[in-house]
Subunit: 381 residues, 4 copies
């Protein structure tokens, strides 16, 4: 492993830290084709970037993300900023020939996401979007079970991504609640996008949707003594059809009392079913229809070395796997994608699908009708 | 308790047995205003009715349900037959001045259900429809928590009624799969009706719906060596709005691998949430938003004597309550309704609401649009 | 079913009610060789016996249990009184040629229990002791799995019976806390006896024990303004060896905060394991060692018609089974034992084994050493 | 953070890798008083140490652990070798003035452990033993709850550490099954030591024990075509008394079918209880006795930033924490202990207590009697 992959990370906040932890960790967990280097951290606040660059172990720091993007030594740019900044940064990086890993959702609209994907494809760089939950060994196991036909033909998907971080009506507003900074897709864009991506990963593309949503708390403290209008949904429900004919429902909420990381999915097939809940992230429930009637029931499979990627972290089944471990797997995928010239999933292109579903849901809510993805895709041409 | 309430039961099958068990049991469980008498059992098959009347402890038997309805000693007629027979039997009973408890769903259409309700109201008799799951002490506790405002204002309902008794594509057809005998509402009519009724019980009436459904297995063995077309849905999804503004989703399936009695509901309020799963029928999960951040989480409440009706069965919390116990509570409600002239829930009128939601879902599927219940109600006038 | 079995029940309290419910219910649930008749109820309090006999549906009542025992029409005497009364009542019943079902524990000591068993055997009557939890379809399934060798040779048993009904130090005293009325075995006699009986049922006889116990709350309100000394254990732990060589642990508590009906067992075999918790009484967890490493895990089996006795109550898997249903199965066993002259389990003789384990535990606690059951058995000769 | 702490790790296997991952990770997770440096890796196999030093990111490597211990630049020696090697290595490190973190169990006997602790104390160095499960935020929360008196006075502890990695009778032998290399304490030494340490952490020291154990599979393949005798226990049960008067049971097995990481504990107090299962490592169950009777039940607390150490890994409650995260917390504690001169838990001295309990259990098994820890401690003087 004499090769290196130099990472430049934009944004020293929550996800910037998570990426940094993962980049520090990944080489000792996985055999890699190249060694990641925490080369350069960018954040516009001088004190923050100074402190964090040191804490996270970056070689250098800057307050100018454009300088990071332009830096000739950087191989991969990681965009860990609020959504409304993704497009400009990612396009600049792509234009500079950088590979890009960008936080989710990719952009404010499917149209913008598609333009980012097109730019990256034209530049021939690798891209990834941070839908980390699909990297969980349990999710990879779910995919393996489905692909192998163990539950038969998929006929139904039910997914949720429910949290309650905004259940308090007096929780203050933020960029996430502004249409201009986060689009009209609130829980839909921020949270549903995760479970839509998971649906895509497990069951393939979605064909059409009907949806509705609500803003439960119409205004929130603006942090300056006044109230700010909440401009996007607190909770959303979708019914979907998949290209393969399966029926599904998707739900997201940021006001779902009691749910802290309620990303759940149940995939029903003609021969069995799987169930997963991220709040118990190290297990997958499997029902095998071929079991005898008097010995059947959901089986709680604890992930272990017999399942994808787990064994690189720990040799003991059921010993546990955590949130940052999923980010570490993301970094492994990105490094191998770049150093080994392998396909990376989900790419910007894959994330366009998620964005199309979100936009279709928004249109469905506005026009109170079923909306096919082909309709939106056609308009984007 | 010198008064008696004489029961005539039509149908000696599954539900006929359940009612009989409950009628034999109820007087030793609850203090009652009148003693139930298993007076007369009707079933068209002579050998069946003879054997079952003896086994269940009925005083008399008949193969002619019309004779049962006409019998002057009968106070309450219980209709435990396939759906397509409900209307004629119940109307005949009502016309004879009998109180009626009828299995669910009440009828093939909301229009028919409404006509049954109107007939009963005109006759001034008590009616009940066998949506038994609302009688569970855990469900009564859920209602109590909601009514008391413990979870604040209800903002979301997610309900399912998933089973897998038809997941085998070679499971034979039955009356339940025929449009003429069970309507075009398959899982929707048979199973979703339970969770729609529960939604009604817990959160109030539903205002409008959008829905879609699927027939997964298009034909099934007809029992005569051929194949019969399946004429109603195997799985259905709805998005609903409640009159009170809450958003919701409802799902039902008879091909949901692994789910045996998957009647579940999560009711989210502005201050908390409750979750229930009939497969663990003696517990209710409660989340209280007022709990401190570092001591919060769903609490597993095992039903016990501190909760509605449980203490009449058993003095020990968590000792367990079963399926037939819910039917026993239904019988208590019916007996008290008749003997004490009290309101009974859900009456035929209450069941009309469930039927309207089902019909609205059917129209929404057919016309691919949102359908308000007022639209259907207006047409019925 | 022209034959009848006439029951006389002594004690109109908690268990008297449970037995009455079950006797009213059983004939409509199960096909029976004879019809049970609630013939005579005895309780020393005139108002109680009058009210309860009517409520429970008994034909007659008495305040004199000796009259009940002497009544020539009574076939089965049910002893539902505090433990210290069991021996006199059961022996009188046996002497009068009655079959007897007696609540648990059978008697205050193994010696007394053995004398009761000997009397019954000499009289040639059927006996049963009310260790109801072994009648649960889930427990019968557990037994079936073990007997069939599905989990291989049993190597370990861990059982608990934990409740918290006395966790409040100000909960008043009762006969259960008095040595003279309930022996020095408190939680050990009242609760551990259930799980010891279950261990016996599932894994065979116990050979030797070491144990220790504690009285956590030394005195309690005596109901007259003073304090009463607590004379037997609040919590007890045992290590046991089974005759078949398996190792085990048994635990009981009446002060185990949060446990309402914490009868749990995990039986480990060389090829698999089972786990059960009475607080989720309608399911059994099964681990099959033969499953492939990447598809293994405990399977949650919901009891249904494919399992013992469940289908007589309900045709739907996972629909639920309750506390009183276990008592109903007990009554079925007793009726069939009497009317069909079949073996009944657990008989007084079987319960002597449970009593020996309890007494061995008491001696082990007192003398701080391992105590073999043969030691106690030898002394009883 | 200009200071550094140079780590030398002996052993490039399972735990050597875990430590390396944690040392690479810790500085980006926690604010630290000094920066850890992966300075030197020792392993006797040249190819292994070369490959692993590179993979794990060590600056240097050696096949001679004595050279590592003698290296003047090394601040902390991590002993990640089989148990029988711990004493020599740790004593050499201590003699060279190094701080030492040693894998569990500390040594083959309490006597040896005590001599290691004495040597370290004489040298004035910091020591830690790798009982990592106490570092879990959920375990720290459990401790916090107990210390705050939220569950009242602790009256009972039930702990298990069950795994099934040797349930297959044809799984080959290893050093862990040899008395000379792992003592006569098999599951007792390898696994029970974890839960004994946890009991110590949560409830304080243990005063006396009674125990028994079994070798279920008497011999195993020796890897050379023959059979090797198994020389220590496959499963063990203890009853214990704590210094504070609480009663407890402890259980360990390496043949417990289905349990992959079955470290569980239930701590019962006079006012509440907690329950934990490492297979669901990111949650703690809490029962608060003060809750009203009709709103009580175990509460599932998902660990989050409101609990100890979690927020440094991730800002979202319930997002998950993994096995290696616990090791990362260990490394933080060791670094802060060394750089900040703070107490470290569990030190060699703390681990002597665990070793004494193990030795007392061995003696109890051999002599079939209760054994007090004071007895063994006295003999060691």
């Amino acid at each position: 492993m004499s090769k290196t992959v130099n990472f430049g990370v934009i944004g020293a906040g929550y996800m910037g830290k998570a990426y940094s932890i993962a980049l520090n960790t990944v080489a000792s967990v996985f055999p890699l084709s190249a060694k990641p280097v925490l080369s350069l951290l960018a954040d516009e606040v001088p004190e923050v970037v100074e402190a964090k660059a040191k804490a996270y172990g970056f070689e250098r720091r800057t307050t100018d993300w454009r300088a990071l993007v332009a830096d000739p030594t950087i191989d991969v740019v990681a965009v860990c900023t609020p959504t409304f900044l993704h497009e400009e940064m990612a396009k600049a990086a792509v234009a500079a020939g950088k590979h890009v890993i960008c936080e989710k959702p990719l952009s404010l609209t499917a149209r913008n996401a598609a333009s980012m994907a097109a730019a990256a494809e034209a530049a021939g760089v690798k891209t990834m979007v941070g839908y980390c939950y699909a990297k969980n060994p349990a999710a990879q196991l779910a995919k393996e079970i489905i692909v192998a036909g163990e539950i038969g033909e998929v006929i139904h998907f039910r997914g949720t991504h429910n949290e309650d971080f905004l259940m308090d009506p007096e929780a203050p507003t933020s960029w996430r609640l502004k249409e201009s900074l986060a689009s009209r897709a609130g829980a839909l864009g921020d949270l549903a996008s995760h479970i839509i991506n998971m649906a895509h990963y497990l069951c393939g593309p979605i064909a059409e949707v009907v949806a509705d949503s609500q803003i439960v708390h119409k205004s929130r403290p603006d942090g300056k003594g006044g109230r700010a209008t909440v401009e996007n949904d607190d909770q959303t429900n979708l019914i979907v059809h998949f290209d393969n004919g399966a029926l599904g429902s998707i739900e997201a909420s940021r006001v779902a009392a009691g749910r802290k990381m309620g990303l759940t999915y149940e995939v029903v097939g003609t021969k069995g079913a799987i169930y997963f809940d991220q709040e118990a992230m190290a297990e997958l429930q499997l029902y095998k229809g071929a079991d005898p009637t008097n010995r059947c029931g959901f089986q709680r499979i604890l992930v272990g070395p017999a399942h994808p990627d787990y064994g690189s972290f720990c040799l003991g089944t059921g010993h546990g796997i955590g949130y940052n471990d999923m980010i570490t797997i993301e970094m492994r995928d990105m490094i191998e994608g770049v150093a080994g010239n392998r396909a990376v999933w989900p790419s910007f292109r894959d994330a366009v699908h998620t964005a199309l579903v979100v936009d279709a849901a928004l249109r469905s809510q506005a026009e109170r009708r079923w909306v096919g993805l082909t309709e939106l895709a056609a308009e984007m041409k």
